[in-house]
């Protein structure tokens, strides 16, 4: 096999973090219903993120000199899975903590690190990621938003769309064209850190089918960027973005999106005394598939911790994980429907309805299923 998953256990000292963070989450999310928890990493609560920061649980993998905890991937795994598994409202800091911070650490100048990283660790800088454009989704290299070099820096024109949290964020890290044309594909793309309070930026939230507005369309009209807005190498944006996406695909984010629904369902079965082979096998199937996927995700984490690059494995886990996340509402709906005499609570009905409607997005965000399967096929030597 070209892909290689080796069973790994969480080290004891990382496991030791679990109970304190679980207790913290329990205390601070008591008021939340399953319906709210089901937003998973789309649930926004800046105060919650600030409280997490006060506990030292933001920027875990960043160096201490920037306010981080200098911890490794396993620590991050434990904290992430506790937050996501409980449906805590993490979206305010999530992208900064997971992607932007590590990106700035890796590609940023010393000045950029000194400026942004401490803010990220204190939950004072929320980030979004500007990738898709109205005419560029999966074909990301065809983007047209352009930064033109001037004497004072850069002038930015264009637009981004489906940008998660743009309306709540302080900064966007955007992939834009800095030279050449769309025909040049991957060449001539660069990443910029854009201060979203600058003149010339309009952010328009987009309402989704479930009634939420977690993503936005962002318009740039002659936005004047300072020279230091560029992050990393000019023209190396494509490589930088791909490194970032590999990171995005590797965590427990792709396991627990439907977890609030599952917990709600199990709680209700216990409370109402619903029990039958069909209910048992529904709960058992979800449990077993989650357990195996979690082991796969941990194997990816172990590779990262060993300094290896598990990009292919991470892609595979993401595709497999989103399939399960999307199967969960169907399995639960199928099971509930076997017993028309049972009356589920309004909370369960509401949560099931929400997850059923929003779950197609699980295999769209961060690379569609079709793109991921193409990446796996390339890894297997088929293309």
């Amino acid at each position: 096999m070209l892909t290689n998953f080796k069973f790994a256990r969480l080290p004891d000292h990382d496991e030791a973090l679990r109970q304190p963070i679980r207790a913290f989450i329990q205390e601070n999310t008591q008021h939340m219903t399953a319906f709210e928890r089901a937003r998973s990493w789309m649930g926004f609560d800046a105060d919650f993120s600030k409280k997490l920061a006060q506990q030292g649980w933001l920027g875990l993998t960043l160096p201490q000199q920037y306010g981080g905890a200098d911890k490794g991937y396993f620590t991050r795994f434990v904290v992430s899975e506790e937050l996501l598994g409980a449906g805590a409202p993490v979206s305010a800091h999530w992208i900064a903590d997971r992607q932007s911070g590590p990106l700035i650490l890796r590609y940023g100048s010393q000045a950029q690190r000194d400026f942004y990283l401490p803010k990220i660790c204190r939950a004072q800088a929320f980030f979004c990621i500007g990738m898709s454009e109205p005419d560029s989704g999966s074909d990301l290299a065809s983007i047209r938003t352009r930064a033109i070099k001037t004497d004072d820096g850069w002038t930015l024109n264009g637009s981004k769309i489906w940008t998660t949290n743009a309306q709540h964020s302080h900064y966007m890290i955007a992939l834009v064209r800095s030279s050449g044309t769309a025909q040049d594909k991957h060449k001539g793309l660069s990443q910029f850190i854009i201060d979203l309070s600058l003149p010339g930026i309009t952010i328009r939230p987009i309402h989704d089918l479930a009634g939420d507005a977690h993503f936005s369309e962002v318009f740039f009209t002659d936005v004047q960027l300072a020279p230091e807005a560029l992050i990393g190498q000019e023209g190396a944006g494509w490589e930088q973005v791909n490194a970032e996406l590999a990171f995005e695909r590797s965590g427990p984010e792709r396991l627990y999106s439907s977890m609030a629904l599952v917990e709600c369902f199990i709680r209700e079965c216990r409370q109402q005394g619903w029990d039958s082979p069909a209910i048992q096998s529904t709960v058992g199937e979800i449990t077993a598939r989650l357990a195996v996927l979690r082991a796969m995700s941990l194997a990816v984490t172990a590779k990262l911790a060993n300094g290896q690059n598990p990009a292919l494995e991470a892609t595979l886990v993401k595709d497999y994980g989103t399939s399960l996340e999307q199967d969960i509402p169907k399995l639960i709906d199928q099971c509930l429907g076997l017993y028309p005499a049972h009356m589920p609570s309004t909370e369960l009905i509401n949560t099931l309805s929400f997850v059923s409607q929003i779950c197609p997005s699980y295999s769209l965000r961060g690379g569609t299923r079709e793109i991921l399967r193409g990446i796996i096929a390339r890894g297997l030597g088929l293309r």
């Binding site: 598994g85 977890m259 199990i266 216990r270 048992q280 096998s281 199937e285 399967r373 193409g374």
Partner: protein
Amino acid sequence: MDTLLEDALGELFRHVTSGAAPGLEITTDQRKAISNEIYASGFADLLLPQAAGGSGISLSEAIGLLKMEGYYNVPIPFAQTVVTRAWAHAHSVNLPEGTFSYASSALQIDEQTRSATLHKAWHGHWVDHMLIATDQQCFMAHSHERRVLQTYHGGLFAAVAWPAQGLTRLDLDEQATHDLFNFSVLAMLAVTVGAMEKAFELTLEYAAQRQQFGRPVSKFQAVQHQISEMAEHVCAADMALQLAAATDDNALTAPASHQLAIAQFQIAHIADNIADIAHAIHGAIGISQEHPLHHYTRRIRECKSCFGSAQYWAAEIGQQILHKNNDTLLAVLTWTQDEKRTG
């Protein structure tokens, strides 16, 4: 993983399957010859401690070796024999020499004719000894008294019967019976995953080699995506197996029931998907007897539900979760190793 052991066993399996085997017409004599050769190699004792003549490796390290029975389509129950010998050593059970197979539950005992019948016995038509567990009892069935009712196509399973005197009741405690079951399930899962990995390799090779419309079929996106999906299933099956085999470092500790149920579910759940995609990519040639694919897809399909189907195991897992405690599912998923053992 001890690659030296893997290389040596791989070499042995390639050698023993290079003659008439593993064709469909393999005779009992040929199977016995292969069995004797593997026995003589000492590999049957690989899970025993070094002091007892074994290799001293752990169960999780041994998984790669147990899978090879399926991967090389070895026509004897090698994995079952290995785990049976480890189990017997752990519980101080005296067993005769020879190749072992195992079955649980579905033994029909007819008090009037004083005979016992088993309709799906793993290598039942020729294996030296069968251990048969039924409702807290465990029997050893002797080959010399055996009557073969039917050997199913492919020769993996047979229907067999024994007169009452052909069965010896073993005096085992509950733990020993339970451990034997868990070891046996793990052995069957390992063999099944080995066959899945081989079916995947055959599929990758075939897709790259078979030309249609002027190019290899692997260049078509519809084919690529099916193979990607197959890769996901095969990786998940292997991870499930590793999860079940992750006992402590003592190779004689049987797999824990909770993880084993998860593995058994996962592997049974995706088994047919794997076989179906392998056949879809191979086209008509994969249906022929001449092409080796059927050896592996037959193993996948016939072994996946041997000890209970996906739905059966799902219900077992779900029942535990619904009845046993009030933990959240997250708490169950993140049980540490020690908690799982008591769970």
